[in-house]
């Protein structure tokens, strides 16, 4: 694009970082990482997500606006692997480099977009499944173990992947999934209400898994209210002050953590490299880690929990 | 005229919940006659006409049109059978233009579109029939004064191809000057073979236009016959079940101190200059043409509209004040538009009566609905309101009875100054007598000051002590009633100059 339009008020090249939403702790960490990356590479970051959490339409509009404005680069966490592909293509046509992070986009990294920086969602779901199987494995074998899965929202790709990975593993291990068709909705309040309504299934269950921050937080509140804390094994996803506290006092047995800071940092770094015309890596796995009470103080893990 | 009747109704019954509105009505209307339908408020006139027009369906009884059974399922069916009706409560769409209202439901078309040129022509012709040919057919009906709206409604009924024309109190908002051409039109239509059913509480009109009459009482036919064979008193006796001898009672009294004083008061548009004094124990009548600004005068005094110039004083209170303050100062007002501004149609009569003084009727900020109903009953009975008790929703009452509820409010709240805008609109003759008596008693016995606006001059002459004429927004000096007569008043109303010995 036009270099004068691409430069921000500071004179540095402006890059847009577009998350899926803005109100989860996860995205806050990505933003912090992106700002670190910008600092180290001399870019100016514009952080802007859809007003309505998880609205594909608004996200497409945002990308279009940044493209028409002619920013120097775009880092995007696509809400959908198909719907966002055309606008990314049009950005590339205009010579704007695009880094995809967090979730996949149709196409080949390096060809249809410059770089893909993400956690493997399916694998992290499998990780949660393996851990829950391990936790439940110690119990007597004469009785089939029951687990509950409370899903996030219909149509959300990354969590659906996690849910699928989780289900594969626990089903293969012979566990019975007593609930797998309930969606918690977008906010913690809805998640808590939904979990409370599943009281009978939760009482009968041995383990429970939640695929993201808001659902895990809502489930934690519900388990506290139902006085089921500690009576079943609870594996969640992502981190927030509440969840870390739950991990500390033992009400949560494990959390799968991604590395949002690194994700943000690396995405912006890759953009900077691409703008400078340097070669970039096309796929970067930022990895996921299983955090338990036992390992939460290891420096590598503690950093993720900040 | 021995021809078979065009419309023949026998034994018609209609029940609304516990109320038996029609209890066996018989009615014969012949082609080519104007048939007067009379009865007290709540006798069932409007209900009967609504059944004929397909608004309500009857519970029992038989209706024959041209000898064939006639039971329209909806208004469209009735209209297709050649029946046109003007309802007591205006039925106009305020956002549409005059022309569109006139031909709603039977628009001249060009394909799927309205043929606007033709619509305008037809509209102008229809308006000319009621003497309003100069009215722009493209103005929105919502911007018209009430009188013009009523004329639009009349023009709509007259403009169709009708065999049976029904008019339910078509003249309640009209000036005398507009009534005469209407009656003339009705006679022409009758001469062309159209059957006309005419409802009005103004007997002069009936005697001027009708050929035959039918009297309803309590939802049943009492008598019917040729208008030439009856007279005012006999008709009243048939309606009310007794004779009303003294319509305008008048007790002697000497007026007291000035309680309402206006000096060069002007509103936003109207009135332009109003100066008058009202004394305790006196009835001051206000006469004027439609649109002269009488209503605006009352509204400005009562604080419903802003006063932009001049001085207003009520008793010891100087200056303009909002309605809430006026009630506290002992002033009460009756609006001319009872449907929009007079009553809460969905609420009970009791609530409507006590609304302005709820705080006084309450104990510790709380009211007891039962007690409100009990306390309202004497006032409702005083004006002979026909209702199923103080808890019945006002919207379910007949038009005249609604008006009486609005008046009962003013009697019950014990105001010292009353502003009455068309107090007897749509009220039957028996109830009129009650209202006049009540005004007389309040003013001349209890020392209440009453300001009455009325378009019906005999009424003003009958009850007022002094009469002031309003012309184009200016109030002419008031004169004692003894010095007024209808001709002089009419002259003053149109010319704005007082004539005669009192000038």
């Amino acid at each position: 694009g036009d270099p004068s339009a691409a430069a921000g008020a500071s004179g540095k090249p402006r890059v847009a970082v577009i998350p899926k939403g803005t109100t989860h702790v996860f995205w806050k960490a990505v933003e912090a990482g992106a700002r670190v990356g910008a600092e180290s590479t001399g870019l100016e970051v514009v952080w802007k997500g859809p007003l309505k959490e998880d609205d594909r339409n608004q996200q497409i509009q945002l990308v279009q606006q940044f493209v028409s404005e002619g920013v120097a680069g775009i880092a995007l966490a696509p809400l959908d692997h198909v719907a966002l592909a055309p606008v990314v293509a049009s950005a590339r046509q205009k010579g704007i480099p695009v880094v995809i992070f967090d979730s996949a986009l149709d196409g080949t990294p390096g060809k249809d977009f410059d770089c893909f920086v993400a956690t493997d969602n399916r694998k992290s779901g499998e990780m949660a499944g393996h851990y829950l199987v391990k936790l439940l494995g110690d119990a007597p074998a004469d009785k089939v173990r029951k687990v509950v899965l409370l899903r996030y929202q219909a149509g959300s790709a990354s969590t659906t992947e996690r849910e699928a990975g989780f289900l594969d593993v626990v089903r293969a291990a012979g566990l019975e999934v007593t609930v797998d068709n309930r969606h918690a909705g977008a906010s913690i309040g809805e998640a808590k209400s939904e979990a409370l309504k599943l009281v009978d299934e939760l009482r009968a269950a041995d383990g429970v898994f939640c695929p993201n921050e808001s659902v895990t937080a809502g489930m934690l509140l519900a388990l506290e209210q139902l006085q089921l804390v500690g009576k079943l094994k609870f594996v969640g996803f992502d981190s927030s002050p509440q969840l870390v506290k739950g991990l500390k006092d033992g009400s949560i047995d494990g959390l799968i953590l991604q590395d949002p800071r690194r994700m943000g940092d690396l995405s912006v770094q890759q953009l900077a490299a691409r703008i400078a015309g340097k070669p970039v890596e096309t796929v970067i796995d930022t990895g996921a880690a299983l955090v338990t009470k036992a390992n939460m103080h290891e420096p590598k893990i503690a950093r993720l929990l900040e | 005229m021995t021809a078979a009747p065009l419309l023949s109704v026998s034994g018609l019954c209609k029940r609304f919940g516990p109320t038996l509105a029609l209890a066996g009505v018989d009615l014969q209307v012949r082609a080519g006659e104007v048939h007067a339908l009379v009865g007290e408020n709540g006798a069932g006139k409007s209900t009967l006409l609504k059944v004929l027009a397909g608004v309500h369906t009857a519970d029992d009884g038989e209706v024959l049109l041209d000898g064939l059974p006639f039971a329209p399922a909806d208004p469209a069916a009735a209209r297709d059978a050649g029946l046109a009706i003007i309802h007591q409560e205006l039925a106009l769409a305020p956002h549409l233009t005059v022309a569109e209202n006139l031909f709603l439901g039977r628009e001249p078309r060009r394909g799927p579109f309205v043929d606007r040129r033709r619509l305008r022509e037809l509209a102008t012709a229809a308006l000319a029939q009621v003497g309003r040919g100069q009215l722009d057919p493209d103005t929105a009906v919502g911007a018209l004064p009430p009188a013009d709206r009523q004329l639009v409604e009349i023009a709509r009924a007259l403009s169709g191809d009708v065999r049976l024309l029904i008019l339910d109190e078509p003249t309640s908002s009209l000036a005398r000057a507009d009534v005469e051409p209407l009656l003339q039109r009705l006679r022409e239509l009758a001469a062309r073979g159209v059957a006309v059913v005419y409802v009005s509480h103004v007997f002069e009109e009936l005697f001027a236009v009708a050929d035959r009459f039918t009297v309803l009482r309590d939802g049943a036919t009492v008598t019917s016959g040729a208008i030439a064979d009856t007279d005012h008193d006999r008709l009243v006796a048939a309606m009310v079940g007794r004779s009303v001898t003294d319509l305008y009672p008048r007790s002697r009294a000497t007026p007291g101190a000035v309680v309402l004083e206006l000096e060069d008061v002007a509103g936003v548009r109207l009135p332009r200059r109003a100066t008058l004094q009202l004394r305790a124990g006196e009835v001051l009548g206000i006469a004027g043409l439609i649109g002269a600004g009488r209503t605006e005068l009352l509204r400005a005094v009562f604080g419903l509209d802003p006063v932009v110039a001049g001085r207003v004083r009520v008793a010891a209170f100087e200056g303009a004040a909002p309605p809430a303050a006026r009630w506290r100062q002992g002033v009460g007002m009756l609006s001319e538009d009872r449907k929009a501004e007079g009553l809460m149609l969905a609420r009970s009569s009791a609530e409507n009566v006590w609304l302005p003084v709820l705080a006084q009727k309450a104990r510790g900020g709380f009211v007891a609905p039962r007690r409100l109903e009990q306390d309202a009953m004497p006032w409702l009975q005083r004006l002979a309101v026909r209702c199923a008790g103080g808890s019945q929703a006002v919207g379910e009452l007949s038009g005249g009875n609604q008006q009486k509820v609005a008046l009962a409010r003013l009697l019950a709240t014990g105001c010292e100054v009353l502003l009455l805008d068309e107090p007897t609109r749509g009220v039957d003759v028996g109830a009129k007598a009650e209202i006049y008596a009540a005004i007389d008693e309040l003013a001349h016995r209890h020392g209440t000051a009453v300001l009455v606006v009325s378009s019906y001059l005999p009424e003003l002459l009958g009850i007022a002590d002094r009469i002031a004429v309003v012309c184009r927004g200016e109030v002419l000096p008031a004169r004692p009633v003894g010095e007024c007569d209808e001709h002089a008043l009419l002259a003053a109303m149109t010319t704005g100059a007082l004539t005669g010995e009192g000038a």
Binding site: S68 | P75, H95, V114
Partner: protein
């Protein structure tokens, strides 16, 4: 047109001009550029088309709270056809027809034909289920059976009118649920179709989607102001009682309004389908309030009888301008939300003020 009316009609344009100017001054060239203007028009296409339908419904004295869910359902239906390889034209028909069908449902419930609706849905659904084995034929057969049931059940017409607020509040959830169910809780993806995708890309004089919006709006405006049907709709909104007394077939006219209004939602769904290149059951959330806001900012009254298509378009544009301008200024999301709310109130206040002063 008399001056007062002209002024009233100009209100929303004034509002648009003031907001536009505000952002033009604050954000400068990157806001006023042609490419950004084109983008704003493009981004108004979906809401604008739906709002044209909403205007009809509001003018008739009704309301449609289900329009967002309806659009989502329509995109799912269209995407389903494309996924099954039904071809573009069939998909377009399916998308729009779904909207029309929803309009029929709303209309029937509003005018009081609930029993007929139940019978129709029962017959249509039953045949559909029985014919399920026939594959692609099940749909048309079901619809046919439903239509026959509807036409032959006139006598069932209990008069049980329901308030449109309640009907569409119920359908708000029902249609969204159906949309999710149609895709088994997942979006529906299909082979990329260039013609479809081409509706909503900038580059030419104006995107095809904007032309479609303008065409729909022009037809709707002429119909509303000039046709017999349109004037009767205004009459119903202005005074239902009067319309009935004057022999207007109120239920039939209302039925027509909802058919038309929801067909507009179906057309909006086509544009949305093109924009998203997928069927999304979670899309268009909150459009119910956006379309109503556009109509009201454009001078419509929720009491019915008042409103114009032109005004609604301006109202929709005002909202896009605010949205776009805030992004250009780099405002935080929360600031943008605060500002947008303030501007909605401000635009209407401006309008009222101007009217009060004349």
């Amino acid at each position: 047109m008399n001056p007062a009316r002209l002024l009233r009609a100009m209100g929303p344009s004034l509002g648009l001009f003031v907001t536009w100017l505000l952002f033009a001054v604050l954000a400068g060239g990157k806001f006023t550029s042609w490419s950004n203007t084109e983008l704003m028009l493009l981004q108004t296409a979906v809401v604008g088309t739906a709002a044209v339908g909403a205007t009809w419904i509001i003018v008739s004295g009704g309301i449609d709270l289900s329009v967002g869910s309806n659009i989502a359902l329509c995109t799912m239906a269209g995407a389903g056809v494309l996924q099954a390889g039904g071809g573009l034209w069939l998909a377009l028909v399916a998308t729009i027809a779904t909207g029309t069908l929803v309009g029929w449902l709303i209309g029937a419930l509003v005018v009081g034909a609930l029993p007929r609706v139940l019978v129709t849905l029962g017959c249509g659904g039953g045949v559909f289920l029985v014919a399920h084995g026939l594959g692609a034929w099940a749909w048309p057969l079901g619809v046919l059976a439903g239509a026959v049931a509807w036409l032959s059940s006139r006598r069932l017409s209990w008069k049980l009118p329901l308030s449109p607020f309640i009907v569409t509040l119920g359908l708000w959830g029902t249609l969204r649920g159906l949309a999710k169910g149609l895709g088994d809780n997942q979006p529906i993806y299909f082979e990329r179709n260039d013609t479809l995708a081409g509706l909503m890309v900038t580059g030419g004089v104006l995107p095809a989607g904007v032309w479609i919006l303008l065409a729909v709006a022009a037809i709707a405006a002429v119909l509303l102001r000039r046709s017999v049907f349109g004037r009767r709709v205004v009459a119903i909104g202005s005074s239902r009682q009067t319309a009935r007394l004057c022999g207007v077939d109120v239920p039939r006219t209302e039925m027509g309004v909802y058919l038309l209004g929801c067909t507009c939602a179906g057309i909006a769904a086509v544009l949305q389908l093109s924009y998203l290149s997928m069927g999304d059951s979670t899309t268009a959330q909150g459009y119910e309030l956006k379309t109503i806001a556009a109509a009201v900012i454009g001078g419509a009254s929720l009491a019915g009888g008042e409103g114009s298509i032109g005004g609604t378009l301006l109202g929709a544009l005002i909202m896009t301008v605010v949205d776009n301008g805030c992004t250009k200024l780099g405002l935080d999301n929360w600031v943008q939300e605060v500002v947008t709310g303030g501007i909605i109130v401000g635009a209407v206040a401006l309008d009222r003020l101007r009217l009060a002063r004349r």
